[in-house]
């Protein structure tokens, strides 16, 4: 079942003529003929959950936007920065009008008169495509009810966090804000703001076309519809696949993406981008949907599967995760700023052979001190996968530490006196 990726490689799909020729902008016409609350009702009935990571129901979010005659904003979060996630790029690059139509419908539904696509600066060529498509849609009179602007970010992971994105969009340093107030009440320029991910908004035209109830029949009861899954890592056919939510994970990793190379096995996998706690091979038979992943102790997140096979030491995975989040921590709140840096230092020390298995305890403890204590979820995004690595692979990490230590101590010349701990150094 393909909706978002339906004939996605059709030549010229990024032009308005081709998009229209296959029925594009018809849902918008229908939506504009409906009352806004009727459109919201359709979205609500579809059960569509946010595809950016949090999985919050879009219909509920749209209903939070206050009614009334004021400036209201719709922001499309196209700051796709989560390692392993590259679905929005393909959606925008190949079918930009699908997104624009989704924005136009959502703007009508919530009464937003100004809309922004906040796209990460690295996607410059995609932003160029969007600029062209927005101009086409505007010229075709499809954006009369909303003023849509494509805004390029400057390249910071944190700006994908919705409130940091808003600060950045306002021209400030991109730091997360305290919530509440939530963006629906006080978002961009203190006005009511609906923020949704590219994929979520791209799904909206299909919801209107099919009808909310019909869309809800796809997928599982609580994870309706289809989802683009970015599969990367040790698989033979990495890429974006549109699946119906709820199919076995193994079917994605092995069936669609081809699984690891001959003779290797899946050691661990991130089911929802690098910020999701890792799962192991035994979890591959779980259905791939929001609730099953949560029940297994992880999350579906942005729907990005990163597969790691048995050639990779777990400590390398931990180091890579810690390094990324240490680099991207904005520094505003204490546990994230200090905790990520500390974790990275510990992991590197373990790898250098300057640690003992006792350090695993400390590292796990530090993750506990981060989780749930930060201003936004960036801190958790490192702490949860690191904690899950310790949980699933403690023995391997212990062995790694011991081996690294032995290696390191072997380097020391037998002639040099061994340093003995004395009272002064203890």
């Amino acid at each position: 079942m393909k909706l978002l990726f339906d004939r996605v490689d059709e030549p010229g799909l990024n032009t308005i003529d081709v998009y229209r020729a296959r029925g594009g902008y018809e849902p918008l016409r229908r939506a504009l003929a409906m009352r806004p609350d009727e459109v919201v009702a359709q979205i609500d009935a579809s059960g569509l959950r946010g595809r950016g990571g949090a999985g919050f129901q879009m219909g509920k979010k749209a209903a939070f936007i206050p009614k009334g005659d004021m400036d209201k904003f719709l922001v499309c979060n196209a700051d796709e920065s989560e390692p392993g996630t590259f679905k929005d790029r393909e959606l925008m690059q190949k079918n930009p009008h699908q997104l624009i139509e989704g924005i136009a419908i959502a703007a009508h539904a919530t009464g937003c008169n100004r809309a922004f696509i906040y796209i990460r600066g690295e996607y410059d060529y995609v932003a160029d495509i969007l600029d062209g498509s927005v101009a086409e849609a505007r010229a075709a009179g499809l954006l009369n009810h909303v003023d849509l602007v494509v805004h390029r970010g400057a390249g910071a992971y944190i700006c994908g966090e919705e409130t940091a994105l808003l600060d950045s969009l306002e021209g400030k340093r991109g730091n997360p804000r305290l919530k509440p107030p939530f963006p629906a009440n006080q978002g961009l320029y203190q006005g009511p703001t609906l923020i949704n991910n590219v994929e979520t908004l791209s799904t909206v035209p299909h919801v209107i076309r099919m009808g909310g109830a019909e869309y809800a029949k796809l997928g599982t009861e609580t994870s309706t519809g289809t989802k683009i899954v970015s599969v990367s890592g040790h698989v033979r056919r990495p890429g974006n696949y549109e699946i119906e939510l709820g199919i076995p994970s193994r079917e994605i990793v092995y069936g669609l993406a081809g699984g690891p190379a001959e003779g290797r096995r899946v050691k661990l996998w991130f089911p929802g981008g690098s910020s999701a706690p890792v799962l192991t091979e035994e979890h591959l038979d779980l259905p791939y949907d929001f609730d099953s992943m949560a029940k297994a102790g992880s999350m579906l997140g942005s729907g990005s599967i990163i597969v790691i096979d048995d050639t990779v030491p777990v400590i390398d995975v931990a180091k890579w995760v810690a390094k990324f989040y240490t680099h991207e921590s904005c520094g505003k709140c204490t546990p994230c700023r200090e905790g990520t840096r500390w974790t990275l230092a510990m992991v590197e020390r373990m790898d250098r052979g300057e640690a003992t298995p006792m350090d695993i305890e400390i590292m796990a403890g530090v993750q506990d001190q981060i989780i749930g204590h930060c201003l936004c979820v960036l801190g958790d995004s490192m702490a949860m996968p690191i904690a899950s690595l310790v949980k699933h692979f403690r023995e391997e990490i212990e062995a790694h530490i011991e081996a690294a230590r032995a290696r390191r101590e072997g380097i020391v010349s037998p002639d040099s006196p061994r340093e003995q701990p004395t009272e002064a150094t203890v």
Partner: protein
């Protein structure tokens, strides 16, 4: 904006029922139940919480995650736990995180002993660290400015200083640079953070990252004592606390009084305490002998002063200014009027309105308070620059605009630093305040705006817009105006126009009214104590006499023989410097109370009594909004300095008037008895926050009848530039002797500068930095050009420093500006 009503809600904290104001944050609400929740980044004075440090995590029943108590408003029936194992561990974790990169150099840190990070680490930390990695390093210490040192290793990145710069002072200089663990506080391009209110970040910093360069390594908290008093360096009269070690003032800190200063200080107030111990300070009595001032005994100085005054009996003038207290003003009045039969005394720099009009302006019903400025619907800043004239009021105005949606309108000659915050700014020609008010009065009454606006050199449409805004913003309108508006020969007419405007806007109501910024620190108090020609204590009737300008002319003309200067040097501070120089030169005797020998005294004083510094003084002063505040001595008087009330009484006794004053408090008692609307005040009542007399029953002793709008005289038109420039003068915040003698502040000393519009500068072939000669009628001063894009064409604004008051006269005049 009406102040929000406070409703109380009941919640449970750690099993205790606590009543707390609705919508207060849990951190504050918990205090009502004697529960302390630790915080670093939370500081309500800085605006809404940011929740950055995560120190205040607590458990709220019904919410799965721990919540930051700084950002969670209290609710009825809320159940909060601050002592559970979960909360304890979370708070321990934050302390551990904060300390991993902190150098723990408490033994050499100025903050040690008064450091929130120390206190919270002891109170809520785990006591140990598991961190063995290398710490983050920065170069240190660095000068963030000549006044503030920054140690980035100690910084815990709580954002307080950055928020202060961005949202309170609005100087937008401090920012957070870099990201994550590399973040650090700094300015763009490392330019020094120099701004009038920059020093407040020292007090805001919860660790030793921002320290005062003047205080660094001077004392530890266990060496020092704190002594509360009032800063009398400007009319803002901020409440301060002196840090004293071994009878020396080492530091000044804010003593938060929301009715006065909101807990902020300007850098002059924070650092000019150094003048107390400056080498330049006069600490012994001096008498002029053979052309130079020489130290003498008190007996001799008092005898000579009394003899000179007695010789000139009936021909003595007196001026009082700056930090003179109400008691000293009162005693000066008695010395002049009762002992010397003179009525020529003034505490203003130029003639003001008549006694009746001045009483109407001071009517308690028409007085606005400092908090009124914040909560008003609209504030009109009229012919003054709060940043220079009463600095801390500038922050209060910004706060009103930012937090309470107050509508600000500015009507000045010189571009105001508040223009960017104003809904409307109107410019009028220097000295044309009266004409502007006549135009505003006409706009409010529906009369002919154009002719008066034309006389003021103001845009009639802008005046109408300003009037509309004042009418429509809401009922509570506060007018903040400067003494210069009603100074000079047309002061009476300007005051009448102002009263008309007040009547039309119906400002005799709570939350609205007038707030005058006097030109000297205790200007209001000295007037109320009777240091005015024709008005005795409490605006009582008195025999008429000469005003300051009249005294100058009479001295120069030989009609007056002696001059008594209580903490003022007219050559330096009064308009018409040349006339004053001549007046002092001609006087037979000039008796002065001074702490620094400024130019007029150095050349002309015959007897100098060493004046007390504000750290040594006792007595009372009166804030521009009528708050009587108490000064308390923080240190002993150095050298031979004596209490000035005592010196005045001693001079009076020698001149034949016995005033029984066993103590300073006795002088206060006499003052409170003499001023009807101070009746019943006592020093004990004033002890902490002072008392605003217009709010007391005794205020009825002054109650002036409501002003009925009067027909205004046709205001004179501002002179037309015709190639010359209209001269406006103003006193910058840094133009004070205390700044010049304080080593830390000296780099900020005001210089004679003249501000020109880009067009005029181009026409004259001048650029910023050019040395010029500014002259009028043969009198000239040297100055440095500053080209400002917002200066209106045809005007030049001269900073009153380095003798630039030679050109000001209190009357509008034109000047020539030529390259020097």
């Amino acid at each position: 904006m009406p102040r929000p009503e406070v409703r109380m809600v009941t919640l449970t904290i750690d099993g205790r029922e606590v009543e707390a104001p609705e919508n207060s944050m849990l951190v504050d609400g918990a205090k009502h139940g004697d529960v302390e929740i630790p915080v670093f980044c939370y500081e309500p004075k800085l605006g809404p919480p940011v929740g950055a440090c995560r120190m205040c995590l607590v458990e709220v029943e019904g919410i799965p995650k721990l919540q930051t108590a700084c950002s969670t408003p209290v609710k009825d029936g809320m159940v909060v736990h601050t002592q559970t194992e979960r909360v304890r561990k979370a708070q321990e974790a934050v302390v551990e995180f904060l300390l991993i990169n902190h150098p723990l150099d408490c033994p050499v840190c100025d903050k040690g002993g008064e450091c929130p990070l120390q206190d919270i680490s002891y109170g809520w930390g785990g006591g140990t660290s598991r961190f063995i990695e290398p710490k983050r390093h920065f170069r240190k210490p660095l000068a963030l400015s000549p006044l503030v040192a920054i140690d980035r290793e100690r910084c815990i990145l709580c954002y307080r200083c950055v928020r202060y710069s961005q949202e309170i002072a609005e100087d937008y200089q401090l920012v957070l640079l870099e990201r994550g663990a590399h973040s650090y506080v700094g300015t763009f391009d490392s330019t020094p953070y120099v701004a009038p209110f920059a020093g407040n970040i020292i007090e805001l910093c919860p660790v030793g990252a921002l320290t005062s360069r003047a205080y660094r390594f001077r004392a530890r908290p266990w060496d020092i004592e704190a002594a509360g008093s009032i800063c009398t360096l400007c009319p803002a009269q901020c409440n301060i606390s002196f840090t004293v070690r071994d009878d020396r003032v080492l530091r000044v800190m804010a003593r938060d009084n929301p009715d006065v200063d909101d807990g902020w200080l300007c850098d002059k107030g924070r650092f000019a305490y150094q003048a107390v111990h400056a080498d330049e300070r006069v600490v012994e009595p001096m008498v002029r002998e053979g052309g130079t001032l020489r130290p003498v005994s008190w007996e001799r100085a008092l005898d000579e002063a009394a003899a000179a005054l007695s010789r000139a009996r009936g021909r003595v003038g007196a001026l009082a200014g700056d930090g003179a207290t109400n008691e000293e003003g009162y005693l000066l009045g008695r010395l002049l009027r009762e002992a010397l039969d003179c009525n020529d005394l003034d505490s203003r720099v130029a003639r003001g309105p008549s006694r009746e009009t001045a009483r109407a302006l001071s009517a308690p019903a028409l007085g606005a308070t400092v908090p009124d400025v914040e909560f008003a619907h609209a504030v009109l800043v009229l012919d003054c620059e709060p940043m220079d004239d009463m600095p801390i009021l500038d922050l209060r105005i910004r706060k009103g605009v930012r937090r309470h949606g107050m509508r600000l309108v500015v009507a000045t000659s010189r571009p105001s630093s508040l223009d960017p915050n104003a809904a409307v700014s109107v410019r009028f020609a220097p000295g044309a305040g009266e004409a502007f008010l006549a135009a505003l009065d006409a706009a409010l009454a529906g009369g002919d705006v154009d002719s008066a606006a034309g006389a003021a050199g103001a845009d009639p449409a802008a005046v109408r817009e300003l009037a509309r805004l004042l009418r429509e913003a809401g009922d509570d309108v506060v007018v903040v105006w400067g003494e210069r508006l009603t100074g000079g020969p047309r002061g009476e007419q300007a005051a009448r126009a102002l009263l008309n405007v007040c009547a039309r806007l119906n400002l005799r109501r709570d939350g609205a009214g007038l707030l005058e910024i006097p030109s000297s620190a205790n200007g209001r108090g000295l007037r109320e104590a009777g240091v005015l020609p024709g008005a005795g204590p409490g605006w009582s009737e008195a025999a008429d006499g000469r005003d300051a300008a009249g005294i100058a002319r009479a001295l120069a003309g030989g009609e007056l023989g002696a001059l008594y200067l209580l903490r003022t040097d007219p050559v330096r501070t009064h308009p018409d410097r040349t006339v004053w120089s001549a007046a002092l030169a001609r006087a037979n005797a000039v008796i002065a109370h001074a702490s620094v020998l400024t130019e007029g005294l150095l050349e002309h004083a015959t007897v100098v009594f060493p004046a007390e510094s504000y750290a040594e003084k006792e007595g009372t002063v009166t804030h521009p909004d009528g708050r009587v505040q108490r000064l308390r001595p923080a240190i002993g008087r150095p050298g031979g300095v004596r209490a000035e009330w005592q010196v005045l009484a001693d001079v009076a006794r020698r001149a034949g008037l016995e005033i029984a004053l066993p103590t300073g408090a006795a002088a206060t008692k006499l003052l409170f008895e003499a001023v009807p609307f101070y009746a019943g005040l006592s020093l004990v009542d004033l002890a902490a926050d002072g008392v605003r007399w217009p709010e007391r029953d005794a205020a009825s002793a002054l109650d002036a009848p409501a002003w009925e709008p009067v027909e205004l005289e046709r205001p004179p038109a501002a002179p037309s530039p015709n190639g010359a420039l209209r001269l406006g003068t103003f006193r910058p915040i840094w133009a004070a002797p205390e700044v010049e003698v304080s080593p830390a502040l000296r780099f900020l000393s005001a210089r004679a500068r003249v501000e020109l519009s880009p067009g005029d500068a181009r026409r004259l072939g001048l650029a910023s930095g050019a040395r010029v000669h500014v002259s009028h009628d043969g009198t000239g001063v040297a100055a440095e050009v500053v080209v400002r894009s917002d200066v209106p064409a045809g005007s030049a604004f001269l900073h009153e420093a380095q003798g630039a008051n030679a050109l000001s006269s209190g009357e509008p005049r034109l000047v020539e500006v030529r390259p020097a």
